[in-house]
């Protein structure tokens, strides 16, 4: 209930993330749901602490794993698959499986009734105290199943009032349910917006089901974009934070996403998450069958970079499945199947959860301090380009530290380093290199492909074979910063790298592009 009354409060003080001015509640009432443009500085606020985010907004998102890049290392979320129906068709989605933008195609979630869902959430929250967020993201559309979605929220609020609620929608039904959303204290909504121009939209959406009719083509896309924009404005007017997801589809909306970014920013969206299209032929989606490719890592980063300075960008999305459980990038859903939940003794201990979360908070502060210290120690070197930027890959099991064996990594976190900054820019999933202690040499090329744009890979430990192969590929394996905080380790390595360039020991070379691994994310 801690978010019960702050809608109006944050609305009245909700200030530009970067350039947007949102009308205060009283004015909004007289001028509709409008937003006005304004001044402000550009930044990627969610990546590094509060940045220029207003205090009220930061307070709401700082512990939300899907919204704060720092928090996603420490807090967990879960999704419950109570919403199987959808009211639109997307060309990147095959409804025999889950929706492919909120979750992965080819992965089927276990459908739950609202009662089963609430039981599952309480069981998980008792077992995993860092679980702070429940989302309803499908497998269809949360608002195409309004009764199931809102029944789940209502019952959960009665049993576990400290859990934050959020939902994802394509936006078609959104204007009809904004009041209901506000009623259940859902203070975070995600809308998937892939276009603001029906000419682009008709290439993505073959049809929608709206007002008891199936509508096709450009007319369908026009209705969809109008409903999305109206819904976003209505949420903003009520002080409900809205994140926008966009699927980057090369050749269809890659250049257009810049316009989408500006349009959603001007209507008050606080975060924009640009995700790569996933279109494997075996998923049976239209794009999979027509051979529409997804973007490379560089293409994705280029679009994300072009949109920086607009709505804040989110780069840590894992496109997890609709019944995912755990920290982003991990999936513990197998531990919480219906059968297992039935057998669990569940005691919901609010105090225990709070105590754990305080511990996490202290750890997080140390991580932040380590980064600040490392930045202040950064060297100013002659003979080295001060604007040099490099990417490094990091193997981590969490807690914000370089603490994973190269062979155990199923994903690498990617940081962009300059002399004065370490910025998280994304993650790369890879096939597990080391299975049961034996390195699988044939996996290494795919790992190299996934981090081929990086100059170094920071790990807790690495075997001799992969070490040599990485070196041969021009990626420096680094294990001397094992168990240090990630940003500190990365910046220390970069200082060392620049020193070696300054001394003439090595020459700086630019790296190539990297591949985004297709297929479903699975726990190792």
């Amino acid at each position: 209930m801690e978010y019960a009354q702050d809608g109006a409060l944050s609305q009245s003080r909700l200030k530009p993330l970067n350039g947007i001015k949102i009308e205060v509640a009283g004015q909004a009432a007289s001028s509709g749901c409008g937003t006005t443009g304004g001044e402000g500085k550009a930044s990627c606020g969610s990546s590094d602490g509060q940045g220029d985010m207003p205090a009220e907004v930061w307070e709401k998102v700082k512990n939300h794993p899907c919204y704060s890049e720092e928090a996603h290392h420490h807090y967990a979320r879960m999704h419950v698959a109570v919403a199987p129906a959808c009211n639109i068709q997307c060309n990147y989605c095959n409804r025999k499986y889950d929706c492919s933008n909120e979750s992965r195609p080819g992965v089927v979630s276990q459908k739950l009734t609202p009662e089963q869902a609430v039981k599952k959430v309480v069981a998980v929250a008792s077992e995993i105290p860092q679980m702070t967020v429940l989302g309803i993201a499908g497998p269809g559309d949360a608002l195409a199943n309004p009764k199931k979605t809102f029944d789940t929220f209502r019952m959960l609020q009665e049993q576990a009032p400290d859990i934050k609620l959020c939902l994802s929608t394509n936006g078609l039904a959104l204007p009809d349910y904004v009041d209901e959303i506000a009623k259940y204290n859902v203070d975070h909504v995600t809308i998937t917006i892939n276009m603001i121009d029906a000419e682009v939209g008709e290439k993505i959406y073959p049809w929608i089901f709206y007002n008891h009719k199936r509508i096709y083509g450009r007319e369908a896309a026009q209705i969809l974009t109008e409903r999305q924009m109206l819904g976003l404005e209505m949420l903003t007017a009520r002080g409900i934070l809205t994140k926008i997801n966009s699927v980057l589809i090369p050749g269809i909306n890659d250049e257009h996403l810049y316009e989408v970014n500006r349009a959603v920013k001007s209507r008050g969206a606080f975060l924009h998450n640009i995700m790569p299209l996933i279109s494997e032929a075996e998923h049976g989606t239209v794009f999979g069958l027509t051979g529409q490719r997804g973007p490379s890592a560089q293409e994705l980063k280029d679009v994300q970079d072009a949109c920086m300075g607009g709505a804040n960008l989110m780069r840590h999305c894992r496109q997890c499945r609709a019944d995912a459980v755990g920290l982003l990038g991990e999936d513990r859903s197998d531990e919480f199947t219906l059968d297992k939940i039935e057998e669990m003794e569940v005691v919901y201990d609010l105090e225990k959860r709070r105590a754990y979360q305080e511990k996490v908070e202290a750890e997080r502060q140390s991580q932040h301090q380590a980064k600040v210290d490392a930045l202040s120690a950064a060297l100013d070197l002659e003979n080295v380009d001060p604007d040099m930027k490099v990417l490094v890959a990091v193997a981590t099991e969490g807690h914000g530290k370089v603490n994973q064996h190269f062979g155990h990594a199923t994903e690498f976190q990617i940081f962009e380093l300059t002399a004065t900054s370490a910025t998280f820019v994304g993650h790369r999933r890879v096939d597990l290199y080391c299975q049961g202690g034996f390195g699988e040499d044939e996996q290494l090329p795919s790992i190299v492909n996934a981090i081929n744009d990086c100059h170094a890979v920071l790990v807790a430990k690495i075997g001799a074979c992969p070490r040599d192969e990485l070196k041969a590929a021009g990626i420096e394996p680094v294990d001397q910063y094992a168990h240090e905080f990630i940003e500190k380790a990365a910046l220390s390595w970069f200082s060392d790298y620049r020193s070696r360039i300054a001394s003439g020991e090595i020459a700086h070379q630019t790296r190539g592009d990297a591949a985004i691994r297709q297929g479903a994310f699975k726990a190792a």
């Binding site: 199987p84 497998p139 008891h212 009719k213």
Partner: protein, 73 residues
Amino acid sequence: MAYKIVGSQCTGCSACEPECPNQAIYEKNGVFFIKPEKCTECIGHFDEAQCVAACPVDNTCIIDNAYPRYQAA
């Protein structure tokens, strides 16, 4: 006088169920069925059959030829 759902194609998504003006659709073991005696093919309610329009899989809600076409009263 009725539509039927091709069970092997039904994804169990439930999109059709709340759209039916006759409450003719029900679920059993994860897939959906239409009670033929309740189905009016949406005649008198909507221009198109709602289950057909809402269903994400083409040719899954189809006319059941075992019954004569529905005649509005």
